[in-house]
Amino acid sequence: MELLPIIPAVIAEAIVLYMVTKCRCVLAPDIHKVNQPLIPKIGGIGLLAALPILWLLWSPLSKVALAFFTVPLVMGIVGLLDDVYSVNEYLRVAISFGYPVLLYAFGLMPRLIYVPLIGRFGDVLLVGAITLASYIVFSNAVNMLDVVNGVVPFSMVIISAVPLAYGLLMHDQSTIYLSLSSMAASAVLLVFNAYPAKVFNGNGGTHVLGAILSGLFLYTGASTFVLIAALPYIINGVLIIFSSRGIKGRSKLNRPTKVVEGIVYPNREGRGVLTLVRMIVIDKPMNEVGIIKSIYAAFALSFVLSLITILIWRSI
């Protein structure tokens, strides 16, 4: 019974995304393809159709459900508006991060966090700092890696399997439901975003998935394991921020790679920014499919490392 809301949510998301592929609206070029086809960049709208169902049909008044589902909803709506109308950067950041801050300030978010291998924390300031940092870090980290088809929803399916395994191990129904919700919503998006993409995630999609990832980190009790499963995102974000000496828009960065006849090479002209994709193609220049497979393999390896960490945690 607990898992029933997932079925109508998945159906609603699939219908909305199918309609997006038919409407051919809000288009952006797929730059890694030779003929650069135009693709709708509002995949986030599918997730926005699924989230209210997953929330309202489960446990709408609990603090965990309120935080886990409404923060991605707010971030997704702002991201979607940004995809369509280009919202002012400061307004976007103020609403996206102001909402979780308000929820936390009014006591509508859990103020307890369990960090496996370190301990349990209930200090209001410490948990508040971790909560806000988590939303900022994960939503930006996911957005930064949304450069090739399918990678973001695929990674979310894999990452969600970690708290799911933890939830099954601990017999925690809430963790199982949150993990399966994340996994199901991401899997539907993957069908439409996988190579060759019929829909792009857009800022709406990446901000929703970033906030869901943050929710898995904060509210499932598996924070350490989720962090390790998400290591490729963290590594990519760290490489970009440190090598570009701060947080800058994509347009202001020296391109890390260059595409010649469909093959991606590291950009050796000037001081190219370091990214995960650049780290992949410095070993061997490859096409988009090769890069996608390499990133999938990186998330699969992180998943294994996360399971090893669970075993270490169980043994101490």
Partner: protein, 65 residues
């Protein structure tokens, strides 16, 4: 893939070391505020280490090619 595997395994191993240090400090300190400061310093050093390794691997590869 070699570079990505090196980056991932380095990041995981060093993160595990940091987590165990924080675990010991959490038991020893008792208060969350110093733990937050020490945690921030350790996590920043961890991130800087990942970047440094990425930079070294990038330079190594550009010399090899």
């Amino acid at each position: 893939m070699r570079t990505i595997i090196e980056l991932l395994t380095y990041s995981w191993a060093t993160l595990m070391a940091i987590l165990f240090v924080l675990r010991l400090l959490n038991k020893a300190l008792g208060s969350p505020v110093p733990l937050l400061f020490i945690g921030l310093i350790l996590i920043f050093s961890w991130a800087a280490g990942i970047y440094k390794l990425g930079e070294v691997l990038d330079k190594r590869n550009s010399r090899e090619n």
